[in-house]
């Protein structure tokens, strides 16, 4: 994990599972909207809690697109409000 990735802050309470981050991230890598190719992964491991897990794969370079386009404050950058 590089320094820039550590600057991303995950706020699971705020994530609504809309996958906007995955769509935006995948566009950067593929030039198409292809969530399977995103470096950020939203999953719903906690069943009916409505809470989502936000994970980053090895290819994440910490560019912050996910945070920039997050509609709910589920991912922010260090120093940004949640």
């Amino acid at each position: 994990m590089g320094d820039s990735k550590r600057a991303l802050v995950v706020n699971p309470d705020s994530c609504v599972g809309c996958m906007t981050c995955m769509l935006r991230c995948s566009y950067k890598f593929t030039g198409t909207y292809c969530p399977a190719m995103a470096a950020v992964i939203i999953s719903n491991p906690e069943g009916d809690s409505g809470m989502f897990a936000v994970l980053f794969s090895e290819k994440c370079d910490g560019c912050g697109l996910c945070a920039a386009f997050c509609l709910y404050g589920g991912i922010t950058r260090t120093g940004e409000g949640g």
Partner: protein
């Protein structure tokens, strides 16, 4: 190489032969129907005939997504399912939120066409470029929530359209929920799936990327939309409470009817205080869920955290009359959870419970008629028992399982006038409680029946001026020439306006755009034209798109003509002309301005105006040959 905005292929699944094949998405869909519900209707044109019974193997289930789904267009996540529904017999189109459209397109498919009937329970697993039929015998008997949980744990990232026990038992008053949260298919889609031994359709996360032809242009338009949506003052209420507070507002304004729509539920001070407590609990225990790419997350999971129902969880927002009469939060969640798990359509189910209660009060039905089951529209336990019985077709539940048409047939002929339905579906909005706007009127003309997925017109709220109507007309792609027919000095033709309200929403349905008012309000036909042109690289015009939306609607109507539907079926329920008691007052249907009463003969005139604006034969209520030719539908 797929066309920009499209996944590129259609998946065909024959459950009888266990065969799967794919074809390229036809250019005719892309150019003349866009996709989504339009593409579904085009694909159905050769599959539905007068002999296609709803629960027969021949009845297709067609799933469709439009070119906006799978991208980041705000609200562009809807999936559409078309089939002939058993509750009313219409070939219908239904829509739902969630990630199914995105997942389906990620596997490379714009549409899925399912026909036949499996000899044993199966589910369809859509994977990259293909599909597998998987044994579902271990899932048979699972409710909707259990089926989703088990399939998601098996297949990882995916979206699931399951059926509950109601679908397995061919219950006509059934519905399902995509991933537990996005309802779809009221009128018995689950029964159609059950008749095919199809427990679920699972769309896995595939590796197909959706291309956008002119991305810089696309990003600019999407960015502008998101900026407006995120700064809209109403957004906070949507995120905090979803659609639930809307129901509370209706109730508080005296717009909720009880006793089979014969009385207004009076908002007395003690009831208001009780209901406010309910609303506080609701908001405090709600976690919003969002469809892909949508900034207006109005879906939700609601959890009871204290009291005897602690730990109960429900998805969706089925707040209707019940909490307004009892306002017991924990027990309401329990009722909603059970109805959703069983897969029953709340609108029709509640309507039937209220009707039976009303008929019991009048002595028309007796406890013996109901086999001893308690029916009380104000009692949660009554709903809990009836939901279990209906989903399993046990006792009196077998009567309710047949839906409003079945119940009507079961009743003594003299009692049938009290059944409130349009083409077998319960209307969602009763014009006696409010007024006759497009949302109320188009429930009668909707080929599916009393359903309210359509609207988007200035009559949503009271108090609009003719200038507002003109502004909305421009937004909705109504030509000035047509608007001159709609607006008449200080009033308007509801029948004529309704045609354009339907076409406007037909356009949304072709694109995969959500029709919720708080999404719809940010779009104009010019925005949509620019957005679609940027996505596909095809330079479309606003006129072209509105013609496409009209074509899709007309073909839908024509398919239902094959099934025997006509003007006769567009008549409003007799109950709409039964006065509603509001204290000492008796309410009847009024027009938008509260100037005139809408009588049955006035309703007939409104239908005449609607057919005239549609270019349909006023006697049959069907597209004329001239109209078909104008839309390129001749010979179909």
């Amino acid at each position: 190489m797929a066309f920009p905005g499209y996944a590129g292929r259609i998946l065909y699944v024959d459950l009888t032969g266990g065969k799967v094949r794919t074809e390229e998405t036809p250019r005719e869909i892309i150019h003349s129907y866009i996709g989504g519900s339009g593409g579904n209707t085009w694909l159905a044109r050769d599959l539905i005939s007068a002999r296609t019974e709803p629960l027969s193997p021949e009845n297709p289930i067609i799933i469709g997504a439009g070119p906006f789904s799978g991208t980041v267009v705000p609200g562009g996540a809807k999936v559409f399912i078309s089939t002939r529904l058993p509750a009313g017999g219409a070939f219908a189109r239904g829509s739902g939120g969630g990630a199914f459209a995105l997942m389906m397109k990620s596997c490379g498919f714009d549409h899925v066409v399912i026909t036949g009937s499996s000899p044993s329970p199966v589910y369809i697993k859509i994977i990259q470029g293909s599909a597998e039929l998987c044994d579902a015998s271990g899932l048979w008997g699972c409710d909707i929530y259990e089926a989703v949980d088990r399939l998601k744990s098996l297949h990882g990232p995916c979206s699931v359209i399951p059926i509950g026990v109601s679908g397995e038992k061919l219950v006509k008053v059934s519905i399902t929920s995509i991933d537990k949260g996005g309802t779809i298919g009221r009128g018995g889609l689950p029964a159609v799936m059950g008749s095919k031994n199809l427990k679920a359709v699972v769309a896995c996360l595939g590796s197909t990327g959706i291309e956008v032809a002119r991305h810089a242009e696309f990003s600019g338009i999407v960015g502008g939309l998101l900026k407006r949506m995120k700064s809209w003052p109403g957004r906070k209420m949507i995120l905090d409470s979803g659609m639930s507070l809307q129901f509370i507002e209706w109730w508080g304004s005296g717009s909720t009817l009880v006793k089979n729509g014969t009385e207004v539920l009076s908002p007395t001070p003690d009831k208001i205080a009780s209901f406010e407590g309910f609303a506080r609990s609701y908001v405090a225990n709600r976690k919003p869920l969002g469809c892909p790419g949508c900034p207006m997350a109005d879906k939700e999971v609601v959890t009871v955290t204290e009291g005897p129902y602690s730990g109960t969880v429900c998805y969706g927002n089925n707040i209707q009359t019940l909490p307004a009469t009892k306002a017991n939060f924990g027990k309401w969640v329990k009722v909603t959870e059970l109805v959703n798990r069983e897969g029953l359509d709340w609108f029709d189910f509640e309507n039937m419970v209220s009707l039976c209660h009303f008929l019991m009060d009048r002595g028309i039905l007796t406890p013996g008629d109901l086999g001893g089951v308690k029916i009380d529209e104000n009692d949660e336990d009554s709903y809990l028992e009836l939901a279990r019985l209906t989903a399993r077709r046990q006792g009196f539940g077998d009567v309710l399982a047949e839906g409003l048409l079945g119940l009507e047939k079961w009743l003594d002929p003299a009692a049938r006038r009290y059944v409130n339905h349009i083409k077998g579906l319960s209307p969602v909005f009763d014009p006696r409680a409010n007024y006759m706007g497009t949302m109320e009127f188009t429930q009668t003309t909707n080929p599916r029946g009393g359903h309210v997925a359509f609207g988007g017109s200035p009559t949503y709220t009271r108090g609009k001026t003719m200038e507002d109507f003109q502004r909305h007309g421009d937004r909705m792609g109504i030509s000035r020439q047509a608007m001159n027919r709609v607006i008449r000095e200080d009033t308007f033709s509801l029948g004529r306006l309704s045609r354009y309200s339907e076409d406007w929403c037909s356009l949304f349905d072709c694109l995969s755009l959500c029709n919720r008012a708080f999404v719809n309000r940010f779009y104009s036909v010019d925005t949509i034209t620019s957005l679609l042109s940027a996505v596909t690289g095809l330079d479309r015009t606003a006129e072209d798109l509105m013609l496409t939306a009209e074509r899709s609607w007309n073909l839908w109507r024509m398919i239902n003509e094959r099934l025997g539907f006509s003007r006769e079926d567009d008549h409003p329920p007799k109950m709409w002309f039964f006065p509603v008691r509001d204290g000492d007052l008796e309410l009847t249907i009024k027009d938008y301005f509260d100037r005139e009463e809408i009588t049955p003969s006035r309703m007939d005139q409104l239908l005449d105006e609607y057919y005239a604006e549609r270019g349909w034969d006023p006697d049959t209520g069907q597209p004329t040959e001239e109209k078909k030719k104008q839309l390129g539908l001749e010979g179909l």
